[in-house]
Subunit: 239 residues, 2 copies
């Protein structure tokens, strides 16, 4: 199999978000979409989106016509050209398939959830686990009582069983929804058990030693600050 | 007051996240921090961090020595120079103050929360509301029963009162934790009532007409896809 060159992290992250967005637009029955519209929905400049999509093509035969039935580079550019004939936008299905393949997003992944407080329970019931790509194969909590009361098809375990279950089932992704004071220790235990990626919802800075473990921090404070900084810029502009 | 030029969105967003990170490192008692360490914790290349920090200086007198007691540009660069004397890193307090002032993050903001399911309740109890900058002044739900059962100091209202309360209290930020099918309508109502920013936790694409309203989408699916894409790149590299 041909080795594909790595995408720069910001491109990879934007494309992974774009993939989610395209899925939702597909559900709404949309057939084509312009980089301008994607720009509005993602909050990313449209020239960045076009640049990202051209990165995407690079791993795929550089626009050789008829390459696996996918449009060539020049065709992509034409589709999105404002005002030109055929410039109505990218075909949504083909674009999503292309991103999914290039980023490996159709490969199924196993995940576990650690911490079954309010946030954990909210995530436990998210629809994403029924869509087939991500499989939530275990959820952990340190309260026997909570484990007994929860009604779910996901297998529940006491937190003390974490290492054993993660190792045995070769779980790849851990979602952290424990209280802040327990987050670092839980992350260490996940890393020791061979986890490959962590989505951290606890408001703490995780220190993960291994280069091989990818950490994503989801931060309410960060989002509020970004909003607040944009509002401040508006205020400065308009007096 | 001197008008400061707008920061490019990616810089603004990284700096706003950096501000949160610096606050947590302060709490851990750290005094100085290098761009290299910040790079590891943020998952952003260190040259990008140095570039962002130089953008920051541009609005502040371009390194005039003795400018409000803050280090000049050349001094900043020296602090973080690897191997040079005094190259141990940036002074954490000064750096955080600088970012906070430039981005307007110390200005108090009012917020409301819409939707008091598991996720909403988790957010209602976050410590950020006790820290003084963001004030959660209202929370809404469409279930009378849930409103009666919740114990909190935050004033609770039935969802039908949304427009009135947001207008009367001039609430700036709305946090959406409603079910996906209610998200768009709730966002429309917030926008009509004069909200200026929305943090959307519902897994839907919001379509917000006004240019003046900033929307931040927090997406579990997006984070899982980003992780998954990084894992795929590792797999491709190492066979």
């Amino acid at each position: 199999m041909k080795k594909e060159s790595n995408l720069p992290p910001p491109t990879l992250e934007r494309l992974a978000r774009l993939y989610v967005l395209l899925g939702k637009l597909q559900q709404q029955g949309l057939g084509v979409v312009s980089s301008k519209r994607l720009s509005e929905l993602l909050g990313v400049p449209d020239h960045t989106i076009r640049k990202d999509l051209s990165c995407l093509r690079e791993g795929l035969g550089r626009g050789k016509p008829g390459d696996g039935g996918k449009p060539a580079d020049t065709e992509w550019a034409k589709m999105d050209k404002p005002g030109a004939s055929g410039g109505r936008g990218y075909p949504l299905d083909a674009l999503r398939t292309l991103i999914g393949e290039r980023l490996g997003l159709t490969r199924p992944r196993t995940a576990c959830l650690v911490g079954l407080g309010n946030l954990g329970v909210a995530i436990l019931h998210r629809k994403i686990w029924q869509e087939g790509v991500y499989r939530l194969v275990a959820a952990f909590d340190s309260s026997e009582n909570r484990l007994e009361l929860l009604s779910t098809k996901v297998p529940l375990y006491h937190a003390r069983e974490l290492e054993g279950v993660v190792r045995k089932q070769r779980i790849e992704i851990g979602i952290l929804t424990v209280p802040p004071e327990a987050a670092q220790e839980t992350a260490d235990r996940l890393v020791r058990s061979g986890i490959r990626g962590i989505v951290n919802f606890a408001p703490v800075v995780l220190s993960v030693k291994s280069d091989q473990v990818v950490v994503r921090n989801v931060s309410l404070a960060g989002e509020l600050n970004i909003l607040s900084a944009y509002l401040y810029q508006q205020e400065e502009e308009h007096g």
